[in-house]
Every structure is written in structure tokens, then in C-alpha cells.
């Protein structure tokens, strides 16, 4: 094969990754838009080892070459992830686009990545030297910058099973189908015995990476909904200060206003 490698196993793929600069190819939907002249691809789409969806302890493990359509058809994928993935592009793109590709492309606009951030998902990486597992939030270092060594491949996504049911998700795009997110937001609230265990709020498409502010989220931990309501305005203004956004397809001011509205709507919908 000219300008391409088609490994028969993950092990073979890892060996090719170590010795060549071939670009990992899962679904191709992002890569083929640019299709850089002279590029060589490492085709991972035929590797069954990267196509599973299965339970693994407290997590659902999703192989990096699982397509969005496959996830939508699986009983193991949580409705929050399905809601986000269902809004990606259109059927033909969802049929080929993958979780690994969405992450590997390194964009803060990636719709599945927002959900991985808010859930506290983990990413499993592999190389010929072995495997390592990193937190999604640590994996994104900046715009198109990932904590990924040249010899490593993204092999698995670990999505937590618990704490996802009380969710809020909104994607703001220019139209229904084929829309790139202008702002996306996902929120989670877990309440036990009347007290907030954790609040999580993730903002996508508004900066170099998806944004989460753990210290602000922690301000609600241990509080009742009434106690949380009492400090809501203070919390919102703290978010207002921290959300320093970049201009993209739309102005920074617009993005900020939408982020604040969605955060407020999320808190109010959840009784805060």
C-alpha cells in the first residue's frame, strides 16, 4: 500500500507508530478535510481490538475506533453521551467518525470531548512500551496540544458509569444538522441525602480546551440545595471572572453571555 499502513493487530500498529510518522486514521472525517499532501496514514479502522464497548468495573470502556452510530445503538452508552453524539454532524459522518478521532483531533469544539470532560472520563494510551491511563482533563494541554507521545496511540475511553443521571446538556450551533458548536455546555449534579456531592460544569468551543473550574465546583460540595441557592449569585459572578474566552466563529462577548445563561439555567433547572 502506497502512503499507508494497514496493520493486522494493535501490536503491529504500535510498532508502525514507533518507527514511522504515519498519521493514525480512525474514521477519517476530520483528517480527510485537510488530507495533507504527501501524508501517510496508519489505518486503524479495521482493528477489532479498538471497536469494543464493554463494562469494566466502574467504567464503560469504549474502543477508540467505535463510531458515533455504534455508540447510539449500544445499550451500554449513557443517555448524556448519546444526546451529545446524536447532534454531531449528520448520519454519514456519525457512521464513520470515532471517539478516538474526536479526541485526537484536539479541538475544544469536539462534542463527545465535552461530555468526557464533565464526566471525569479517562483515556487509555498504548505504545510498544506499555499502557498508561490519563484523566481527560489532563490529556488536553492546549489548542491541538495533547499529552500524547509520538509512539503512543489512543486505544480506549473510560466513561464513568455513576453520577451521570442528573445531567444538563445544550449545544448552540448555527443550525440543526452539520453544525459546529459555537458554545456547548454540560452540567452534572449529584445529590445524596439532601446534600450536594458534586457539581460539574464544562464549557466547550469557547477556548483552547474545554473549560472546567474544579475550585468553583467544589464551593457547592456538601451544601443543601437551599444553601447552594443562597450563594448562587456569588458563584455566578466568580464564573464570570474566570470565563476569559477567545473569539472564534462568533465574538467572545456572545460566547460569554451564552455560557453564563446556560450555567444559570442548569443550576436553576436542578433546583439551585
Amino acid at each position: 500500500m502506497v502512503n499507508g499502513y494497514r496493520p493486522a493487530s494493535l501490536q503491529e500498529a504500535l510498532e508502525i507508530k514507533k518507527t514511522t510518522d504515519a498519521v493514525p486514521y480512525a474514521g477519517g472525517t476530520d483528517l480527510m478535510v485537510e488530507n495533507r499532501k504527501g501524508v501517510s496514514y496508519l489505518f486503524l479502522n479495521g482493528l477489532e481490538e479498538l471497536r469494543h464497548i464493554r463494562e469494566e468495573g466502574d467504567y464503560i470502556s469504549i474502543g477508540s475506533c467505535v463510531t458515533f452510530t455504534e455508540a447510539l445503538e449500544s445499550d451500554l452508552i449513557h443517555p448524556l453521551m448519546k444526546e451529545a453524539v446524536a447532534q454531531i454532524a449528520a448520519p454519514a459522518i456519525r457512521n464513520t467518525g470515532t471517539f478516538g478521532g474526536n479526541i485526537g483531533n484536539g479541538s475544544a469544539k469536539a462534542d463527545s470531548v465535552l461530555i468526557l470532560f464533565v464526566c471525569g472520563a479517562k483515556i487509555r494510551l498504548a505504545s510498544v512500551h506499555g499502557q498508561r491511563t490519563v484523566n481527560m482533563e489532563d490529556f488536553y494541554l492546549g489548542r491541538k496540544k495533547l499529552d500524547l507521545k509520538p509512539e503512543e496511540l489512543i486505544v480506549e475511553i473510560l466513561l464513568p458509569k455513576r453520577g451521570l443521571d442528573n445531567y444538563y446538556y445544550k449545544k448552540v450551533g448555527g443550525r440543526n444538522a452539520l453544525a459546529i458548536s459555537r458554545v456547548s455546555f454540560a452540567g452534572l449534579l449529584t445529590v445524596e441525602n439532601g446534600r450536594i456531592q458534586q457539581m460539574a460544569a464544562a464549557f466547550g468551543a469557547v477556548s483552547d480546551t474545554v473549560l472546567r473550574f474544579r475550585d468553583l465546583e467544589d464551593r457547592l460540595s456538601g451544601k443543601t440545595l437551599d444553601e447552594a441557592s443562597a450563594i448562587k449569585e456569588e458563584l455566578l459572578s466568580a464564573y464570570g471572572e474566570r470565563l476569559v474566552l477567545t473569539r472564534g466563529r462568533v465574538s467572545a462577548e456572545y460566547r460569554k453571555a451564552v455560557c453564563m445563561n446556560l450555567l444559570k439555567d442548569f443550576l436553576e433547572e436542578k433546583g439551585i
Binding site: M1, V2, N3, G4, Y5, R6, Y25, G27, G28, T29, L31, M32, V33, N35, V39, S40, Y41, F43, N45, G46, T69, A89, A90, P91, A92, I93, N95, T96, N176, A177, L178
Partner: protein, 157 residues
Amino acid sequence: MEAINFLLNGEETAYDGSAADRLLDVLRDSFRMTSVKCGCKEGECGACSVLMNGILVNSCCVAMGAAEGANIVTLEGFRKTERFAVLNKAFAATSAVQCGFCIPGMVMAAEALLSKIPNPKDSQIREGLSGNLCRCTGYNAIVNAIHIAAKEGNGLW
């Protein structure tokens, strides 16, 4: 040099060019499958839609290396089927074709949709066609054609 082998409309086919070439370009330029239209080359318009292993894909976003061993069906192959005859008649009945550029992609998207959902609701048809842009018809005639095809082709899908 190892060629890329795949099935094209049921025939064993070999391509000995680059694995990074777009399926779209190869189908048109090397194999003269000119029903496959190039509208955007970025997966936004659906004019280059084909079936790959029975699944709808944008051929502009598929590299040839990913098509190794795949079963590719374009409109040239699909038009030999009974299902096509039903869709063809329905598209004509509602005047769903104007300039025609999007239509091969629309028909492949309709086939993919009906294979999954033989009796789709209006919203399901619109979702199924959401990746296929048409600048002439305003879509309603195409949606109606698919309703008719689903009804007339009862049992075919």
C-alpha cells in the same frame, strides 16, 4: 507494490494509487463512477454519498486505504435493483429532481434510511437526509418521494 482491493458495485476491483487518495476522486477519475458528485470535499454536503459495507458514508472523507476489503456501492450499482426502481418512480412522481446534482447522494441516503427504518416518520426522513444539501427543491418533494417509496415498496426494505 500491493494494490488496494475492494468490491465496487459487486465487482472485484484493484487500485494501485496512494492509500491517502480520496475514495471520491478514485471513484470518479479512475473508475468513471460519475454519479458520485464533488460538492465540498469536507463532509458537509452529502453529494458524494456512497454505501460502504452497507453504511452511508461521504466518499470525500474516506481514504482509499480505509476502503481495503470494503464493499462499495454507488448509484451505478444501486440502480440495477428493484428498490431503486421504486425510489426512481417516487422521485419522478413528486418532481423531486430539479438540477439533479444532489440526487445520487439523496437516493443513497434514502436507501440507507429505508434499510434501517422501512416505514420512517417525517422527522426520521428529515434526519436521514440531514447530511445531504439540496439548493433547488426545498426538500419537501424529496421527503414526500421517500414517503411514497416506503409505501409502494412495501416489503422491499
